[in-house]
Subunit: 202 residues, 4 copies
């Protein structure tokens, strides 16, 4: 299978999962109290932003992978489906964190968010390394340094998210701050695969 239509479906899931996040941002208050209620709801906006950017970064990474992959076999399609299933799940724990940022449920919310993102990172790793191992599905003309750059950048992903998840057992606030910091770091670092190389060279 050529990878074109796989991209169309994946782009759809990424775009919808990110955009659906707004459904859980809502503020209900009597008119006179609306101003205060809108400000008080900042955790919902922060959770929206962190998850939107996280999904957006994963979309950029997904694209970077697909760009060097020439063909898709059925195992790869399955791994891609499992990955998208994780991505589309992100709005649920995002909503939990926004709803419980100020109460004792934050630990459970952070653990749910963390388990979701760690599983997503594991699926992303499987998706990539299945394609990259022995250049199984890699385009013959793909730059080997680019391929190994992507591989290197994917190794720590699960570990980073797994660690931030475990931190929630000790302190949920710190764990949530770490998830925001990871998204911000990836966003600022921007060029995730081996420095500023591949993207800006293209």
């Amino acid at each position: 299978m050529e990878t074109g239509r796989l991209e169309a479906f994946a782009d759809g899931v990424f775009a919808i999962a990110a955009t659906l996040l707004i459904i859980d941002v809502s503020v209900t208050a009597p008119g006179g109290a609306l101003g205060h209620a809108v400000l008080h709801a900042w955790p919902a906006y922060a959770a929206y932003a962190v998850s939107f950017l996280t999904i957006g970064i994963m979309w950029v990474n997904h694209h970077a992978c697909i760009r060097v992959i020439a063909v898709a076999d059925t195992t790869f399609l399955t791994l891609n489906l499992l990955l998208l299933m994780c991505i589309a799940f992100v709005p649920f724990p995002t909503n939990l964190i926004a709803a419980h940022i100020r109460d004792s449920g934050l630990r459970a919310a952070a653990l749910t968010y963390g388990v979701t993102l760690t599983t997503t990172a594991v699926c992303f790793g499987s998706f990539w390394f299945y394609a990259a191992r022995g250049r199984r599905l890699i385009a013959p003309d793909a730059d080997p340094r680019l391929v190994s750059g992507i591989s290197r950048s994917y190794l720590p992903g699960s570990l980073i998210y797994g660690t931030a998840t475990l931190v929630a057992l000790w302190n949920a606030q710190v764990s949530v701050a770490l998830f925001a910091a990871i998204a911000l770091f990836y966003l600022l670092e921007s060029s995730i695969f081996g420095g500023r190389g591949p993207e800006s060279e293209a």
Copy 2:
């Protein structure tokens, strides 16, 4: 009509129907009880996963069909619309199963889910066999073995889902387990059309 834009619309419906499933996954609990409530909601996650993968597999199959179809006539467009109408309906019975997994409503939920998927399988069959009969819409250069492989793989679909539906009359839990098993089987078997052939050869 060339099949390109038909794919764009279909990809959209598949991606949205799958991603919308997350809207029905939600947990509301006071902070202290959130951890337990999140674990207790596992049927919602399982229902999400089974339906997401079912829709995902149908998307893969839809693509496999479109790949060998050269043109679309108006009857085919209509059959395609009916198929997409069934696919986009899946979130509704999925939600019923998740909501009633532990009560006496499971039978009605499983029957609704089963009737939806059986109807979907019948629509999928009509969609395919209309195009394939006498190679009506099949591309002249499409491999006949591939075409007959798809035909062979579609014959049992309605029967399998129909049987799992009828099982709900006897035991709803077994019926629901069968729906999960069918999704898992198709996912693992992966290459649904005549073994590992067509996709990995491409």
Copy 3:
């Protein structure tokens, strides 16, 4: 502006508007009463089907128009936006009809549905006739019979929907039945533009 990306945005709106219809289909009942409640909710399924098919048919028509249009100017983009704004509005009156099929609110619901579809038909007409008048945006190589066939088929649209809307003032049930019949007619007739011609010839 080439019409390619216009199609991508339009396909997205059509696909999302159709798929979002399922959000309003829901049944809440205690376990023991679920079977009856699922059957009792048939108007929600019927409304879903009628609106899904109506949006689907409009998508087919939209595609048929775009196929013979070579370029888009800014007025055309605006008319396209207004058309999509109407299409994306359809889930709202659909929900009203499903919710009030058995009570005295059906008249207001049918009027709302009818006004929405009549406005959509007027927007569709403006969208098409702006492009077709004097072949302003029509591709030079487009078959004149095809173009005039589309024009002929669009003339009665607003009238048909407008009539079905006015019928609601006299009898809401008949009006709703007419909307379903119109969708079914277009679906069966299938080839809306001048018989079975253009699509099957392509």
Copy 4:
């Protein structure tokens, strides 16, 4: 990175954000009061229309930018993500305005709407001027007058939305009317970049 897939993701977010607006349009009333309730809900329809058109106009602008941009580097991808994050946020303040059009919460709602659109305009400016400065990412064969026309048209955007936002501190109704007028103006003016030039010339 070629800009093709960036467009696919962006088109998805624009289309979904616009279409999701309908979710917040709903009317619940007993049958006998439905007619009055449907009419009474006009602010929800107006808010839907203004935001749908605003997002639609931004989509047209986004396309006009992408058309003259040849490549995307990672900073540009990040700026694009931030812009889409703002666009996908629009349904939230839209809903606030519709819900509070008749009570004292309108000031807070208008401020929230205004801050969202002003931030979006700032993000849009950053997105464009990052690409345009020194023709960093501009296609070598792009018409310089077209590029400077876009630049000129983006300078006042943030200012216009910022002013309409500040007006809410004095009179919320006037501020809301200004937002509607801005959308209408852009829609009628249609050709936003330097008169009727680029689009109709293409």
